[in-house]
Amino acid sequence: MSDRIVVGSLAGAFGVLGEVRLKSFCADPEAIADYVPLSTEDGRIFRQIVLTGQTAGSLVARIDGILTKEDADALKGLALYADRARLPALPDDEYYHADLIGLEVVDTGGASLGRVKAVLNHGAGDILEVLPPGASDTVLLPFTDAAVPTVDLAAGRIVADPPLGLFGDD
């Protein structure tokens, strides 16, 4: 589990009064303002973000310390990181994608099945994309109680009971 997660990026200036275009990667785009302070790779920290509107594909915001169009343009392309601890706590059966990605997946016997590469959802429930060790092709594991009985975030592993044939064991 990483301490910082990417929640958005800066896309340049909006207008000439120092407002910025902000791309939010959050499930609810406007929630990005709740995760302040946001930091960047070059060590800047933004402690206040005020959303003032939206434009095509991005939000418009006023950020502390950015007063001119030139300031805003200079930040174009920077990713914004939030502290993982700022995310609200979830019920027992819900997990942040950021927490699941990278976890080791083991079967009920303890043998490694791979690591979680991504979490997908195409409308029929969540799916863990698992990259088996030494393989280039991923395996898609339904994120259900039957297929994934245990998620142990503290130990950094997921115990899976995959359906037959999923990992080439049929």
Binding site: I5, V6, V7, G8, S24, F25, C26, A27, A31, Y35, L87, L90, D93, E94, Y95, Y96, H97, A98, L100, I101, A118, V119, L120, N121, H122, G123, A124, G125, D126, I127, D137, L140, L141, P142, F143, T144, D145, A146, A147, V148, V151, D161, P163, L164, G165, L166, D170
Partner: protein
């Protein structure tokens, strides 16, 4: 134009056979299908199908609210990962 009601929903015959076989068995398995055009029927609820998207079989856990739609709707042919950010996953 919508499909005539008197014809009933279209399902490839092999999908029905596979689903019936899976219902009889006790094995926990993903039913691999290639028929993206088949309609999801009430008897499929509770089963997990692996719907082919041209590259791999995407697991589709059928629930009641999916009845009447096509399998292909749940197995996109293009992948976009995006950022994890604060997105959540819930176990079913």
């Amino acid at each position: 134009m919508a499909r005539s009601v008197w014809k009933g929903p279209f399902v490839d015959a092999y999908v029905l056979k596979k689903a019936e076989k899976a219902r009889e068995g006790t094995r926990n398995e993903v039913i691999k299908i290639w028929s993206r055009r088949s309609t999801i029927l009430p008897q499929f609820v509770g089963l997990t199908f692996g719907v082919y998207n041209g590259k791999k079989h995407i697991p589709v856990n059928v629930t009641e609210d999916m009845i009447g739609q096509k399998f292909g709707e749940y197995s996109p042919t293009r992948t976009y990962y995006g950022h994890a950010a604060d997105k959540k996953a819930k176990k079913k």
